[in-house]
Point group: C2
Chain length 312, copies 2
């Protein structure tokens, strides 16, 4: 089975590659603009390039693939700053890539990394469940929702077997600029682990949805093999996530790193507080029935995030 | 008030121009690749060109508009034959046009002609109402659904005041190739009016949704002025339509044209019968509350279609 992974050099992509490497039946093609530190092998082909480039897409798809994990994207904050760049990658190159993998007629499984931003920049206060209407406000969320529509259409047409997974906040991202507004969630881990002070841009009362990068990678890989019949007709699933109080998360990170919680102070930013301060209840029975999962509990989530940072 | 109309040379666009011409407070810019037979006036500027051409979009938008009626599209059958052409017009040029009219910050009303094809190529047998999930299968329907998403996003962002209207089958189209699979509905009128025989590609038992071009133009013009608050949050409305038995429609056209109904024979085409043979019940309370309407009854619908053909 030949699997193409885009955005493979990103922090989620690397974790997906790590899991795929454990399955000797797979041939993997990994594409990204940056693949530093990854080592090619007889079962892992590395392809440096941008999927906006037709020749890169052609080289990636080659004579066809059995599955695509499409992670490459202009992320939320960056898309908001440069909507044209978001269109080039998150719409145009994505549609071209879907056409490319469908062309050979092998009906490949296409796993698309969508986002909870399809529900809006502020989530519905009453909660999100499997019947919550999409109402994106950010460019990123709108473009992801548009691709969900096209992927479900291509599925209905029999061109691909499509699964869109709506990802919550993922930790821990690498330090430094990511283009994601949610980067502060990961920076908490980096700071406390390194004994640095951390200024939180949201208040202690904030409530967020989180998933470790290990868990999101497990979910993406699960989506590669899950039976078509277990995915609802709209072909898009909101992933389960732990709903955690920000102060509880800080306490657990402090406990596991041994950092005094006095290193954390709060200077809430109005925009971030509105966007991330009050994630409502989340109910995801469709994804759970299909075998997708969250990290289980806060201690596991934090341990995984710290384990992953240690590997970076 | 300055109104830009794309697809203005089409059969719907011409009817929209006719209504707009009755309002002396309007300045209208009419854009299309073909504008034959239309006459410019101090209040009507004609602009020949394709909206895929940036210079045409720039000339059309000029120093800003107060409203856009966006009718230009690669239609259903043609989009299915050439998905790349559909992307260029129905996605790329449409998104560029929306950005163009939003740029001046006047928050223009944008009226977007969407389609009942967003519900699938075969409609849900249980009926369509305001909560029916979108499930396009045709390229045309998918692209229209994607633009509905972006228009609602631009509305939420305050960039435009958006209204998507999902149009049912419109009669009567001009004779000849239209790129629409539903063209046979109009050809019935042309044939019986001219005393020609008509071979129906759907059975007498077929049930369809129809609206006259006059009525759809009234609805599009109504959408230019309707209060924002009367449009639901998703900013998309399925228009009311008459649900008519095909044999009843044939009988009424025969009655009004004086054609013997013996001139109609039936050779059902499996694909057309599946697509158009069994339109389910249609319920559109949201659009009706917002002041949109269908033709009232079959006799009025047929009379309007014949009146319009006489004008062609």
């Amino acid at each position: 089975m030949k699997v193409l992974v885009t955005g493979a050099g990103g922090f989620v992509g690397r974790e997906v590659l790590r899991i795929l490497a454990q399955d000797p039946s797979l041939q993997v093609v990994a594409v990204d603009t940056g693949l530093r530190g990854l080592a090619a092998s007889p079962r892992l082909r590395l392809l440096a390039g941008n999927i906006t480039d037709e020749s890169v897409r052609e080289a990636a798809v080659g004579d066809g693939v059995d599955a695509l994990v499409h992670l490459a994207a202009v992320p939320g904050g960056a898309a908001e700053m440069d909507p044209a760049a978001s269109r080039r990658v998150n719409i145009d190159a994505t549609l071209d890539l879907f056409d490319g993998v469908a062309r050979e007629g092998r009906r490949p499984r296409v796993v698309f990394a969508s986002t909870i931003a399809v529900f809006g920049d502020t989530l519905p206060p009453g909660g999100v469940d499997d019947s919550t209407p999409l109402a994106p406000r950010l460019i990123y969320g709108a473009h992801k929702a548009m691709i969900e529509t096209m992927l479900s259409t291509l599925h209905r047409r029999g061109a691909v077997s499509g699964v869109s997974l709506r990802l919550p906040g993922i930790i821990a991202r690498p330090k430094g600029p990511s283009g994601m507004k949610s980067a502060f969630m990961s920076n908490l881990f980096h700071a406390l682990r390194e004994g640095e002070s951390f200024v939180s841009p949201v208040s202690p009362a904030a409530t967020i949805w989180l998933m470790s990068v290990q868990q999101v990678a497990l979910n993406l890989v699960h989506a590669l093999r899950v039976d078509d019949a277990r995915i609802p007709a709209e072909r898009a699933l909101t992933l389960p996530a732990l709903r955690i109080g920000w102060s509880d998360l800080i306490a657990e990170v402090a406990r596991q790193t041994g950092a005094p919680s006095s290193t954390v102070s709060f200077e809430p930013d109005a925009a971030l507080e509105e966007a991330f301060g009050a994630y409502p209840p989340l109910s995801t029975p469709a994804a759970e029935r299909a075998g997708f999962a969250h990290d289980g509990d806060t201690a596991t989530l934090v341990a995984r995030a710290l384990e992953q940072i240690a590997r970076l």
